[in-house]
Symmetry: C2
Subunit: 350 residues, 2 copies
Amino acid sequence: MVAAGGRGRRVTIADVADHAQVSTTSVSKVLRNAYGVSPAMRLRVQAAIDELGYRPHNAARAMRGRTFTIGVLLPHISNPFFAEILDGLTEQLGGTDYQAIIIQGGLDDASERRAVDALVDRQVDGILMVAPLSSKSRLEEVAAGTPTVVLGPHERSTVYDSVNDDDEAGTELVVEHLIRLGHRRVAHIAQRDLGRGRPATTLHVIRERTYRRVMTEHGLADGIAVATTSYTEDGGHRGAYELLARDPRPTAIFAGADLAAFGALAALHEAGLAVPADVSLAGYDNTRSAGLAHIALTTVDQDGVMMGRTAGRLLLERIGGRTSSVRFSVTPALIVRRTTAPPSDSSQVT
Amino acid sequence: MVAAGGRGRRVTIADVADHAQVSTTSVSKVLRNAYGVSPAMRLRVQAAIDELGYRPHNAARAMRGRTFTIGVLLPHISNPFFAEILDGLTEQLGGTDYQAIIIQGGLDDASERRAVDALVDRQVDGILMVAPLSSKSRLEEVAAGTPTVVLGPHERSTVYDSVNDDDEAGTELVVEHLIRLGHRRVAHIAQRDLGRGRPATTLHVIRERTYRRVMTEHGLADGIAVATTSYTEDGGHRGAYELLARDPRPTAIFAGADLAAFGALAALHEAGLAVPADVSLAGYDNTRSAGLAHIALTTVDQDGVMMGRTAGRLLLERIGGRTSSVRFSVTPALIVRRTTAPPSDSSQVT
DNA sequence: GCAGTCGTGGGTAACGTTACCCATTCCTTG
DNA sequence: CAAGGAATGGGTAACGTTACCCACGACTGC
């Protein structure tokens, strides 16, 4: 096998055809294993391919059809939960000819739009949009042109598939856990809604709404306190400060994401408050860090690997021709660790 | 502006030419702002482009030359330090027509090779390889075909540019800090060398070597203890357990990366040891989490944003035609927080 | 034994863009 | 005033692959 050096002209399908003494059409057929090629032909062409070290030219393929590329839109790569999703996706794509490429969507609508356009321009065969900010109509516009799976938002659409965690169930689990421990003032750190035209379908909106509902259902409407920042370390930090300044101070905080919980943990520490003795804290996502002994965060597990795997499968199915729309939901589980406990007497100033 | 719907034929340069009553050549010239187009022509074509909502077809461009795509190879997206590098790169690329796409290289040589091949197959205009596992000859092979910047390894090459932290200086800072505090048994958590044919140039090898050198220079060769796992939370966790089992037990641990330090922190906590009272702990990278109050990790800052920005600039220069090779090195700084302190008497069993 | 069918291989026109030319007009300069 | 050059616009042949045809031989079934 000849190494495909950088300088020389690249090996094309025509070179392979010459070398194998067949037509380019036949080589192409072997490549896509299309109908109408004998085993002998297949072997012959395969040998020529190996000998010449031929690699298909992606751009040329793209002009005619497939690129064998899956585009993944991520708001930002720093969220460790996304890494799990990606691991699942990669696992599912292994063994196929498809390759995942990642693009960062950023923090606002406009830059997300640019990122998705970049994916579309590059003719990816499928798009996985993770926790997108875009409006439903925008998502459907994208999905009309490219097979699309949306991970996160709870909207059901007829043109794309959805994968999500049952955020309502997860939020119920964690809020009820805190209430059952005896907390009556359970605060919440939410994320500001940056998307446009998305009334109540993003996961952070659902988490906040469910939090309010559960509190109300338990007769604790008075204990509701929400700091709206963002699902980041910094957001959690600011949110906790905001909540601690309230009077009376909450005895428990439910952060909408682990990352925010970490920031809140830092803020509580700075404020000289012990967790869980003074304030209980819970997150959402069960990221790897949450399980570490020195953090031991109570949180909600939502199996990101499984979500990524499923998203990959659905995408391949759609590329394969499925047009019906699928919705897949993961059932979350509460993971109780050491950041939640019954409220102490001192904090129980009712 | 007409939305470029998914189903209909896409708007091509020919449509624009028709609409503006000019030739496709002229449209192409405007697009690439090439020489030989009058201001009037430019305006006229620009108007047609806007009116039709034309977007260049990337694959078609790729067949003739540029793709305006920068490929970024990341071992794994979960490392928060990579996020900083990417932020720097994105910042540098903003305003240009270039788009960064990310691809995960994974944990071994073979899968990294596959990822880079995928980038090359997709005709990216430039490649940024972050902390690659590949051998130098492999890197040069890639660089021969595509403008390349390598971030991490300290190898100097004539065919690609290098960006790195001065890992020797950084390691000296942190190890000497621990020694100055009075520690004599300073252990180290290193990363297993997975690459092939890379004698002593990956950053983890340099950190370990420098650690050994500094210890020896201070007459503390007997205090050297290295656990070779990986720069991950899990690796740090396992590494710390391994080190704590030694007799005599180290009084300080220098983890080669913050992520590993977090894992070590958990292990120390599980073992019932206080930080820094029983054991001091230091990391490397100054990731965002390291600064949070409840962690307050002593670590080495290496300005990932600046590294990413520089890598982007060098890549653009190379794409622009520079052939000389550049090496850029960031000077690290020690950030002392609350995980390091003089050894306590109880642990000072010499 | 003949029409119809199946299996196999190849010819060729796109796909959308750009780089290399050439043609025309107008302006400069000796 | 003629010759040369600058400025501007356009024609056209690639780039590498695939999808749609068609051609040819061999086999089937009546």
